[in-house]
Amino acid sequence: MTDRTDGDKRMSKGGKPTGDVFDIERIRQIVELMEEHELSEVDLQQGDDKIRLARGSAAPLYMQAPVAHAAPMAAAAAPPPSGAANAASAGTFTINAPMVGTFYGRANPDSEPFVKVGSIVTEDTVICIVEAMKVFNEIPAECRGKIVEVLVGDQQPVDFGKPLFRVEKLA
């Protein structure tokens, strides 16, 4: 049956109609937006109307979370980006956890943090401690730059590859 009773070919819920999905002009505008901002995919849906556009090597589709009681993945468990550079913020990259453990931003509760936003780090600068198996491992920056964001909270569990700090390259 091509016209299910529930299929309301409706206008947009608010005032204005969604208009013709097949309107070339609108598609062109979206595409230009994609190019400008290096989007790989746009997927718009409203009721039965749908516009999906993909550029470049089709981005992998991730499965949605399992049904109902299936557990969401732990925050710490998000598949970490392996490298450093992250396209989302040009000119910056992240320092990632080299091991599993608990993150400490300061040597002890009364100390100053090893680094703060604005700190300049070099290869040997200790930026945090990751504690595992009762060993407090001092983590060096292993790069040069300026800390622009601290990405994990104190005493938060981190795993291998977890981004810890965002760093801006210094010229």
Binding site: A71, A76, A77, S82, T102
Partner: protein, 448 residues
């Protein structure tokens, strides 16, 4: 009972343990390498921690990282699965000393059974038959003859320093023994700088039969009958089944009881498999104990209806076994085919890559334990098994028919699998008759 369990493994066995945990209301914590970020065990676990990069030595074998994950994951116990660290007594020890129950035997039992000589001695002590041999080096021909006469021909001469078949000779009778001894000594001397040899009864065309045993910490030891794993390629099991197709009932009873004696004698708890070779006259000889859950455990689960992983967890938590020996009844026939991402036409060369499409077989009597899905990339870093296809039917004949139709249903594109090869094996008259032995696949499928 445990609240949270970490699974120190990947692939289908990680999924298998997650399933048991979920059904028992236990939270599961996965670990994974960067190559496995999209893996199903990561998605289905309650929590997951990345423990390193793709190579096993950098992740699944990294004891400190796994223990660290157990700490941040706040687990009570660690299930090692099979492979990786499963039979590593040091890891076992570190788990326990770090405050996590290791779901498996004690490090002591694991270590003792892991040493071939110790295990052999324990078998002898517990009246478990071992392959008869000289029990030490053969100094001269006279002792060799006496020994050979005692254990019976044919005999195998093995280099004590040996490996890879070097310094190995079979003597069919007394007339051949002297020459064979001489050749073996010379070859061993040349190859290893050590001419020492010993004698062992040569079991030609042996079957591989193993017994599933599980023991709790209250002194209960039960067997769950045998599995026949004679379909092997280069000592890799391809197809496993239960019951063994040609073992007389009294021998079946005897081999199962021997396995129980072995495990009881080793002061062992949790699941173990006692492996034997069985000759044409149905004499069985102890080979080794696998101190972990095995790949082929579902075959036993199907015929007995017992969930072995749950039982492992119960036992590790200090509970008694949920059954006694008399409760265990094996019903029907079960088969398992290991589906590998390998190309049988190219000498079983691994075929990792992206699975474009897959249809998972279903229907009556079919179980497919697999972690793969359409769009999943089989990484090249680990073993090539992508799933285990298991069937259970009232008779072996029906089980073979069901397995064949399930293999035909298992449509995978993007990579090459061994499904078609299994189908050829299942049709072979020797397999159908159940008279095959461990030389079967090489004799019938890989010659020339």
């Amino acid at each position: 009972m445990f609240q949270r369990i970490l699974i120190a493994n990947r692939g289908e066995i990680a999924l298998r343990v997650i399933r048991a945990c979920r059904e028992m209301g236990i939270k599961s914590v996965a670990v994974y390498s960067q190559a496995d970020a999209d893996s199903m065990h990561v998605r289905l676990a309650d929590e997951a921690y990345c423990v390193g990069s793709a190579r096993s030595v950098d992740s699944y074998l990294k004891i400190d990282q796994i223990i660290a994950a157990a700490e941040v994951g706040n687990v009570d116990a660690i299930h090692p699965g099979y492979g990786f660290l499963a039979e590593n007594a040091h890891f076992n020890e570190v788990c326990r000393s770090s405050g996590f129950e290791f779901i498996g035997p004690s490090p002591q039992a694991m270590e003792a059974l892991g040493d071939k000589n110790t295990a052999r001695s324990m078998a002898i002590k517990n009246k478990v038959p071992v392959v008869p041999g000289s029990d030490g080096l053969i100094d001269n021909d006279k002792i060799a003859m006496e020994t050979a006469n005692k254990i019976g021909y044919p005999v195998l001469i093995k280099a004590t320093a040996g490996g890879g078949g070097k310094g190995m000779r079979v003597a069919q009778d007394e007339s051949m023994l002297k020459t064979a001894l001489q050749q073996a000594r010379t070859e061993a001397q040349a190859a290893f700088g050590n001419g020492g040899v010993y004698l062992e009864k040569y079991v030609s065309r042996p079957r591989h039969i193993e017994v599933q045993v599980i023991a709790d910490s209250h002194g209960n030891v039960c067997h769950l009958f045998e599995r026949d794993c004679s379909v092997q390629r280069r000592h890799q099991k391809l197809i496993e089944e239960s019951p063994s197709p040609q073992l007389p009932e009294d021998r079946r009873q005897a081999i199962c009881e021997a396995a129980v004696r072995m495990i009881r004698g080793a002061d062992y708890t949790n699941a173990a498999t006692v492996e034997f070779i069985v000759d044409k006259e149905d004499n069985f000889y102890f080979i080794e104990v696998n101190a972990r859950i095995q790949v082929e455990h579902p075959v036993t689960e199907m015929v007995t209806g017992i969930d072995l992983i749950k039982e492992q967890i119960r036992v590790a938590a200090g509970l008694p076994l949920s059954f006694s020996q008399g409760d265990i009844v094996a019903k029907g026939a079960a088969l398992e085919c290991r589906i590998n991402a390998e190309n049988p036409d190219r000498n079983f060369q691994p075929s990792p890559g992206k699975i474009e499409q897959i249809f998972a077989p279903g229907g009556l009597g079919v179980r497919f334990d697999s972690h793969v899905y359409a769009g999943y990339t089989v990484p090249p870093h680990y073993d090539s098994m992508i799933g285990k296809l298991i069937v259970h039917r009232p008779t072996r004949e029906e089980a073979i028919a069901t397995m064949r139709r399930a293999l035909a249903e298992l449509q995978v594109t993007g990579i090459t699998t061994t499904a078609g090869f299994h189908d050829r094996v299942l049709q072979h008259p020797e397999f159908v008759a159940g008279t095959h032995d461990t030389t079967f696949v090489e004799r019938e499928f890989l010659k020339g």
